[in-house]
């Protein structure tokens, strides 16, 4: 219990640190933040506009006051309004976050379903044809950037073979089948890199556990191979796989931004990229903060799951 409380505390502290960095980043950059956000293409911005923006962002107040009111806003789920159209940032995120989450969940599930059975099989038949084939493919998949996979999927499946739509989004309520069809390609594109990583980790981890003394003990007890695999090998081998999954969630969340763009998936990516382009700092800040918090929470969940799987963590 103490362990769990401590781990949750660390996560909360990290979220605070991340929020502070996102807030401070604007002030760390040399020069006047308002001028900085308005300057484009080297031309000096209009002083009146700069003064307006400064007032709007509260940049004319002392830094500490700004910091306090930023966290006050966070406490009320208020991330400010967009500089472009005055739309509340929180509303925009609330509307689009579920779609991004769905994509991430689908991709993670897909990766686990593909990587764990193949990784285990490859380890059990190490050096065999399947192992060599899969290890080779994993090396290739690791090398293809996520947006290249996405673009090539569109080129081959949609443009050339016409068996998949090139992208887009249909709400579940409108047509569940259509919704799922449109989910497949972006989820596959995101899952690709993670699958390769998890395949390698599962394979290495299963091989490692297979060489452990307690597996020899289990064999010496005359336990059936299937039961040794399920009770002794996988249970121990999957914990490092989980850790790697948590660590690679960062790359996965980043990959989502690219893939949503490639497939016109209306998640957080579109407002984020538009905001970066328009230097709409409140919107960028809100979305980056949301996704980073998500990343930290996912890792917290992984660690808690880890403790369930491995009793040594709880007492250690």
């Amino acid at each position: 219990m103490i362990w769990i409380a401590r781990r949750v505390g660390v996560s909360l502290a990290l979220i605070w640190v991340v929020a502070s960095i996102v807030f401070l980043a604007l002030h760390v950059v040399p020069g006047d933040p308002a001028e900085l956000l308005l300057s484009a293409g080297g031309s000096a911005p209009d002083p009146a506009t700069v003064a307006d923006l400064r007032e709007k962002l509260g940049l004319d107040r002392p830094l500490l006051t700004q910091y306090a009111s930023f966290f006050q806003g966070l406490a009320h789920a208020d991330l400010g309004t967009s500089l472009v159209d005055d739309y509340p940032v929180t509303d925009e995120i609330a509307r689009r976050l579920p779609r991004t989450l769905e994509l991430i969940a689908a991709a993670t599930l897909l990766s686990l379903l593909m990587a764990i059975p193949t990784g285990t099989y490859a380890a059990l038949h190490r050096g065999g044809l399947f192992d060599r084939l899969m290890s080779g493919s994993a090396a290739l998949l690791l090398a293809v950037p996520v947006f290249v996979v996405g673009t090539l999927l569109v080129l081959v499946l949609a443009q050339t073979l016409h068996i998949m739509p090139a992208g887009g989004y249909v709400p579940w309520a409108q047509s569940p089948a259509q919704h799922l069809v449109l989910l497949v390609m972006p989820a596959l594109a995101i899952a690709q890199g993670l699958t390769a990583v998890l395949f390698r980790m599962t394979r290495a981890s299963v091989l490692d556990v297979l060489s452990k003394d307690f597996v020899r003990t289990a064999r010496a007890k005359g336990i059936a191979p299937a039961r040794i695999l399920a009770r002794h090998v996988l249970r121990n081998a999957l914990t490092p796989v989980l850790t790697v999954l948590g660590l690679h969630m960062g790359a996965l969340l980043g990959g989502t931004v690219l893939v949503e763009y490639v497939f016109n998936w209306p998640g957080l990516s579109t407002p984020l990229l538009n905001a970066v382009d328009a230097r709409d700092y409140p919107m960028v800040m809100g979305i980056v903060l949301t996704i980073s918090t998500l990343f930290l929470l996912i890792n917290l969940a992984m660690d808690l799951l880890y403790a369930v799987l491995d009793p040594r963590i709880r007492t250690g």
């Binding site: 991340v18 956000l37 090398a143 005359g222 009770r231 690219l258 996704i291 990343f295």
Partner: protein, 606 residues
């Protein structure tokens, strides 16, 4: 290193193309020619022209230049700064230094692309911004790796020695520690370059990295997406370039890392040489024996050729008798034991001999039948009880599954009762609490008792104990030996007890087999062997034991490598009594008295 040649070659070619781009006579990569947009390959434009009529080949090669400049610059900056930070942090340790290194980890709380987008918002897109943000992203990796290496390097004795000699900190860091850190930092560097190429292209693809019209693979893919239908090849070229570059870098990195960490890969299992079609041609010679091993030879395929760690070993054990196998590490005693259980690693194969148990030859018994015997009629206790128990399962489950594997009909409640009485039997005071405990919650002696309880679970006729007390405290050792002796007396089980310690063997063994370099060199009743050893090696072992009145004397030399066994007697190079004939003739194992065997040319003159 053979694996590094192909990817290394590809990386070198790409680097050369990028460096030499201005001198290759390529068309201007940014000059537009809208009249000839999307034209196919012609002379002078090998890969055709893009949507603005620019030469694709030229843009590909100049794009490599952009990508690699950004990647190498950011990796180099992060590498230098991170290494310095890690060196200083690791050397001066202190809270402040640790915080400085650790605070870099905050960068790892952000998904990389998102931190990059945050920075682009503030600084605007461009190559300068890219280099800055990529260095920031890679900085913590370098700082961490260096920090950890310095912490471990400063514990090395030569570093301590240089410090004691009064060298200054910067000098020690530069001359002594930096070379140690270089390997991991280089691996990190190559990882960073590959990651930087991927990130740069991703951001350029989003239109937030390299600013058009500068050539970049990411920008080329972004541009070609619009004309995908008319000119799919335009999309394929930069995709291929990007993938091949990252793949070659990854493979090169893997090969270099593997070369730095040479853990040999064991060869795949080979089919048994023993003729499976003619079992039982040589039936057991002695029906009184619970187990009889005849001429067992085990071969292991190693990268340096096959070795035979067990050669022509014959032994037997009766019910209620304890046979001790004694020898130094590498004598083949543990392999002999695992061969009985059929638990040899895949690379090791029995190539000759028979192991008779319950009137069947274990060496040719199919795996399912062998599995029924393992943990049932024959059981094994291993050396290290901590690693031999599964850390994530409760003790009760681990004993329970041993029972269940051989008596599947038994219900859960009956299994629990039996597990409980087994724990009582091996002297565990509070069996009910212990059944729900995990291995890490118990002491070493307690864990070994659990291992013994597991071995007893199905009333075996043979127990093989492989150095069961070596990993334990001296006081606990005595308790475990007493327990094993009690059990043998009560149950009449045959026991094979493997140990390198003659003192331990003297307490428990009825008969002793001494092994050296894969051979049995002497065998006989324990009392007789201890009183009057016939083989010089046995004598040397006894002299080396610390419990005699005289000062223990060591045995000169080491066990010969199984790759280079002496032609004659294996022990001759270390033997004080060796004569010329010993180096030339391999002695046979011959009977010295009716119940003693010895493998020595000169035993009679002992």
């Amino acid at each position: 290193m053979k694996r590094a040649i192909l990817p290394g070659g590809v990386v070198v070619v790409i680097l050369l193309l990028a460096v030499l781009a201005p001198w290759l006579g390529l068309p201007d990569p940014v000059r537009q020619d809208v009249a000839h947009r999307l034209t196919g390959p012609i002379t002078g434009h090998l890969l055709g022209r893009d949507e603005f009529g620019r030469d694709v080949l030229s843009r590909l090669i100049w794009g490599a230049r952009t990508s690699l400049v950004v990647a190498f610059a950011s990796a180099a900056i992060a590498g230098v700064l991170g290494t310095i930070l890690g060196l200083i942090g690791g050397w001066f340790r202190g809270i402040g230094a640790m915080l400085a290194v650790r605070s870099m980890d905050v960068v790892l709380c952000f998904p990389p692309i998102l931190l990059a987008l945050l920075i682009v918002t503030l600084l605007g897109p461009g190559a300068g911004t890219l280099i800055m943000m990529l260095s920031l992203l890679f900085l913590p990796g370098f700082a961490r790796v260096t920090y950890a290496e310095v912490l471990s390097a400063r514990r090395h004795e030569y570093v301590e020695a240089v410090r004691a000699l009064g060298a200054t900190s910067p000098r020690i860091l530069a001359r002594t520690i930096l070379p140690n850190v270089a390997g991991p930092v280089l691996v990190q560097l190559s990882l960073a370059v590959a990651a930087a190429v991927a990130l740069e292209s991703g951001l350029s693809f989003l239109g937030l990295g390299v600013v058009p019209p500068a050539p970049s693979w990411g920008l080329m893919i972004r541009g070609a997406r619009a004309t995908m239908e008319q000119a799919p090849l335009l999309l394929l070229w930069p995709c291929a370039a990007l993938t091949v570059t990252i793949l070659a870098m990854n493979l090169l990195c893997d090969a270099v890392r593997d070369a730095a960490d040479p853990r040999g890969h064991p060869a795949a299992a080979r089919p048994r040489v023993i003729d499976r079609l003619l079992p039982g041609l040589a039936p057991p010679a002695n029906p009184d024996l619970v187990l009889e091993m005849q001429g067992l030879t085990v071969e292991i395929a190693t990268p340096r050729g096959p070795i035979r760690p067990v050669r022509d070993v014959s032994l037997g054990v009766r019910a209620g008798e304890t046979l001790a196998i004694v020898g130094e590490s590498g004598s083949g005693k543990s392999i002999t034991a695992t061969a009985i259980m059929g638990l040899l690693p895949a690379a090791a194969q029995p190539v000759a001999g028979h192991i008779w148990f319950a009137e069947r030859d274990l060496l040719i018994l199919p795996e399912p039948a062998l599995r029924k015997l393992r943990g049932g009629a024959m059981a094994m206790v291993f050396q290290d009880p901590m690693s031999s128990l599964n850390p994530v399962l409760r003790i009760g489950e681990q004993i329970g599954e041993a029972i269940r594997a051989h008596t599947p009909a038994l219900g859960a409640a009956a299994r629990r009762t039996r597990a409980r009485s087994l724990l009582q039997r091996v002297g565990i005071a509070d069996p009910d609490q212990r059944l729900t405990a995990y291995p890490h919650e118990m002491s070493g002696g307690m864990r070994q008792r659990v291992m013994i309880a597991m071995a007893l679970a199905n009333s075996p006729r043979l127990i093989i104990a492989d150095e069961p007390t070596t990993a334990l405290d001296v006081t606990v050792q005595a308790q475990i030996l007493d327990l094993l002796a009690d059990l043998k007396r009560d149950t009449g089980t045959a026991m094979i007890f493997i140990s390198h310690s003659l003192g331990v063997v003297g307490e428990i063994a009825d008969r002793v087999a001494v092994m050296y370099a894969g051979h049995i060199v002497e065998q006989g009743p324990a009392a007789a062997v201890f009183a009057k050893p016939l083989h010089p090696y046995t004598k040397a072992l006894l002299d080396a034991a610390p419990d005699s009145d005289a000062m223990p004397t060591g045995i000169p030399g080491i066990v010969p490598s199984p790759h280079h066994l002496p032609a004659g007697c294996s022990f001759a190079p270390r033997c004080a009594r060796a004569i010329d004939a010993c180096a030339a003739t391999a002695p046979p194992l011959e009977p010295a008295t009716p119940d003693r065997l010895v493998r020595c040319l000169r035993w009679a003159s002992a």
